[in-house]
Amino acid sequence: MKNKMNLDFSSVSSNEAFARVAVASFVTQLDPTMDELTELKTVVSEAVTNSIIHGYDNQPDQTIYISCTLEEDAIELIIKDEGVGIADIDEAVQPLYTSKPELERSGMGFTIMENFMDKVDVVSHPGEGTMVKLYKQLKKSKTLCN
């Protein structure tokens, strides 16, 4: 059975914490490990922050969309904005690449998403916005051995 959750909220930085806690509490139903939960919270934080800073250039009156689907032990997360979009995705996902060094960005957001999730897809077009799709299969070893 598929279990789905949708969320949309304003592009303000105080919602970064809200977004990662909301996703984490939805995913808790699958009984993830603490490490898995930390990884999920971190990638949500990365993608939402990117929509705020890069997608919407810090304009607070825009909307960010999250959809999270659980099926068996698999998680699909979609984080989307209708902001400026990315012209060169291959360049954007390079470790340490940032288009905003003056804001002390580390350029590690996409690298962290790729490390913490099984699969990351970026769909983006200049002027149309960005959609980041993240997939993760939870380990189910916890309850198997009793």
Binding site: A17, T38, K41, T42, S45, E46, R105
Partner: protein, 116 residues
Amino acid sequence: MGLNVQFTTKENVLLVRLSGELDHHASEQLKKEWQLAIKEHGVKHVILNLEDLSFMDSSGLGVFLGRYKEIMQLGGEMVVCSISPAVKRLFDMSGLFKIIRLEESEEYALLRLGVA
């Protein structure tokens, strides 16, 4: 939850103790306060104690790198201590340990900077 920041000095060392969650939202305020603390106290080195930091993302890496560059300009060193496995993974991924030293505890970090 938010971030709590505590600044203390010991000789020419600024001790920065972070607790709570460090994300983009918290990082902007942290940057301002940290820059002010370095200036006000006229310190040379920084020790970053992350023992009670429960969450961090790449925004934290950006702030640490920014302060490292400023401290380096002053001829100082930056040492991080009491780091959790989750935060250590982010440091490892970004190569930050090449420039910021890791020590087990605040005491070892102080020793390393020659402050007993």
